[in-house]
Symmetry: C2
Subunit: 353 residues, 2 copies
């Protein structure tokens, strides 16, 4: 049914649909189900050691021999800023008290960088694709991965970023619009300018690069997929539609909040991780909305970690990062395989009109 | 070529495309050209007396007998707030000095409300449609307009607003996404939540109401129109694509800035009018980005009026409201008629694939 086969051929998948990697919510089971349904399954490896990545990949391989994608964050190293750390800890104190979340952690990085060891481990695992967020790693690493036949993907939130990614080795570009849930992939300076919505971003990136463009942000049903194809995208990356599935490791509180949400109730917040990420509006994010001087990503992630866990444990959505895109009002609590088969059937019906 | 005829039938137009009303930039000549090209031409009447509206409508009638739309703002009356006015005047002072813009005006409203006199005048003019921004006027006025066979349109930036508009008499709803240039039509409380992008907003509003939905925001070529139709929209409203046309009364500085822009260089700013409106990033808007306590709309519009004129006169884009949507990177400086014929041809080609 797919007339444009660029992404299917590049990634060896039946449907040009990527199940978005969502560190903390996507699981090997989700990736297996997505891959076996003919889409691209993804693992979000941003907060994992190379050992954990290898273990997850073994689980995936036990369930599917189809294409999978490993995602890594390639953020710049956080600056040490004791003043910001203390200010953040002070702002968080009453939340830690209220949710009985224990001591606020020290301001240290707990993410694992995409370093030489991780790169070598990934090259040995040889997934079909590796996607990056916040840019690309060093060109030598891109070369190492490509030597294993691994397809390189990365997210662009502007035409400039798309051009940068193409020039630096990306084989396809994820055009991530403003609507997208979780972390914005934004990585080049933009002053006061805002990230464009998917409708405006995709055709401009399609005009600017020659590699296939994957639309992301605000897409959760066949209408969105058909629309993305009209804009010139070769395929889509979808996250939120999988977040309430049984294969998602999002907390029950998070899943319930998603199923009750409309999509007119999301906001960008830096208050969970130190970088802009889209969440459902809740008490914590609203309270912190105007604060802009948080410690750098991902140190801020460390500082809020126990608070978010305590909030989930108390079955309160008040202080969880309720990651969600703006199409959340369209999702249902069905299995990953069902989500994909419905997306495909809906798109086919719309395109056949 | 249009399989979905709902909007064409409702508005008596050949193509389901509305040339957006843009107070200060759209002109009777633009409306005439759009209408004669088979689209819906619109006049932005927000800052006009009823006499001026009648004069513009006479000009339009001398050039076309096809359907036209008159647009009005139905904002709540601004509160008197001398403290905010003084604070704003202080913030503006160095800009008035720098651009030799004369005295800062007094903090008064200079818009014309959609009152009984205006309503009667519009009912007598009997345009095919009247569109409102920021909600709807009193139900008695809606009744007066409908008694003359006038179609009522209004903008929604959320599902709640769309439902409100349908329940209060709108015959079609403009789903205005985050990407849209100029003033956001936002009118119901939304806390910290952000306006959704067009891709996420349109299908959710389509699911929520039974009247036709018109997609607006981020659409500037046939790809965007085809995408909007896939999302379930009955048609589109397009503004930015007409702003650089010879029929636009935008300043030359504004037009040049639009033609040089990518769409990754816009921002929402309250600093021109007191309400959120999308502009190209410039020095004034960037400087005022974090200021939130401006006098109410449209008093702030009055305060910046001479400054904006002086900036345009000096051929400087530094302090003009450079209204623009996020698809601006797709536009060209062709005539209104050419824009429409290209939009139609592009859409036809894409849908025929």
């Amino acid at each position: 049914m797919w007339k444009d086969r660029r992404l299917c051929d590049l990634l060896e998948i039946d449907h040009p649909i990527i199940q978005a990697p969502m560190a903390g919510a996507s699981t090997p089971e989700m990736a297996i189900a997505a891959a076996n349904a003919g889409a691209m399954g993804s693992l979000g490896c941003a907060m994992q050691t190379s050992g954990a990545v290898q273990a997850d990949m073994r689980r995936v391989r036990s369930g599917t021999n189809r294409a999978v994608n490993l995602n890594f964050f390639v953020h710049t190293a956080p600056r040490t800023n004791p003043e910001r750390a203390v200010a953040a800890q002070n702002r968080l104190a009453h939340w830690y008290d209220q949710l009985d979340a224990g001591d606020i952690p020290a301001a240290v990085e707990t993410h694992y960088p995409f370093d030489a060891e991780m790169c070598d481990a990934v090259a040995r695992l040889a997934p079909k694709a590796v996607s990056f967020h916040f840019g690309l790693p060093h060109s030598a690493m891109i070369k190492t991965l490509k030597a294993e036949g691994i397809v390189i993907l990365s997210s662009a939130t502007s035409v400039s970023e798309a051009r940068f990614l193409e020039e630096n080795g990306a084989d396809a570009i994820i055009a991530q619009g403003y609507e997208a849930g979780g972390h914005s992939g934004w990585f080049l300076p933009r002053g006061a300018a805002e990230v464009a919505g998917t409708m405006a971003l995709v055709p401009r990136i399609v005009d600017a690069v020659s590699v296939p463009v994957i639309a992301a942000g605000g897409i959760a049903d066949g209408r969105g997929i058909a629309a993305a194809l009209m804009l010139g995208a070769a395929g889509v990356q979808i996250g939120t539609a999988f977040l309430a599935s049984p294969e998602s490791s999002a907390s029950d509180t998070h899943k319930r909040s998603l199923l009750a949400a409309s999509g007119d109730d999301t906001m960008m917040s830096k208050a969970f991780s130190g970088r802009h990420a889209r969440t459902l509006v809740n008490k914590y994010a609203s309270e912190m909305d105007k604060v802009d001087d948080w410690p750098d990503f991902p140190v801020m992630n460390t500082l809020t970690g126990p608070l978010r866990k305590a909030s989930a444990k108390a079955d309160s959505g008040d202080a969880i990062a309720l990651w969600s895109g703006q199409a959340v009002g369209l999702i249902r609590a069905t299995s990953t395989a069902d989500v994909i088969s419905q997306l495909v059937a809906q798109t086919e019906a719309i395109l056949a009109r």
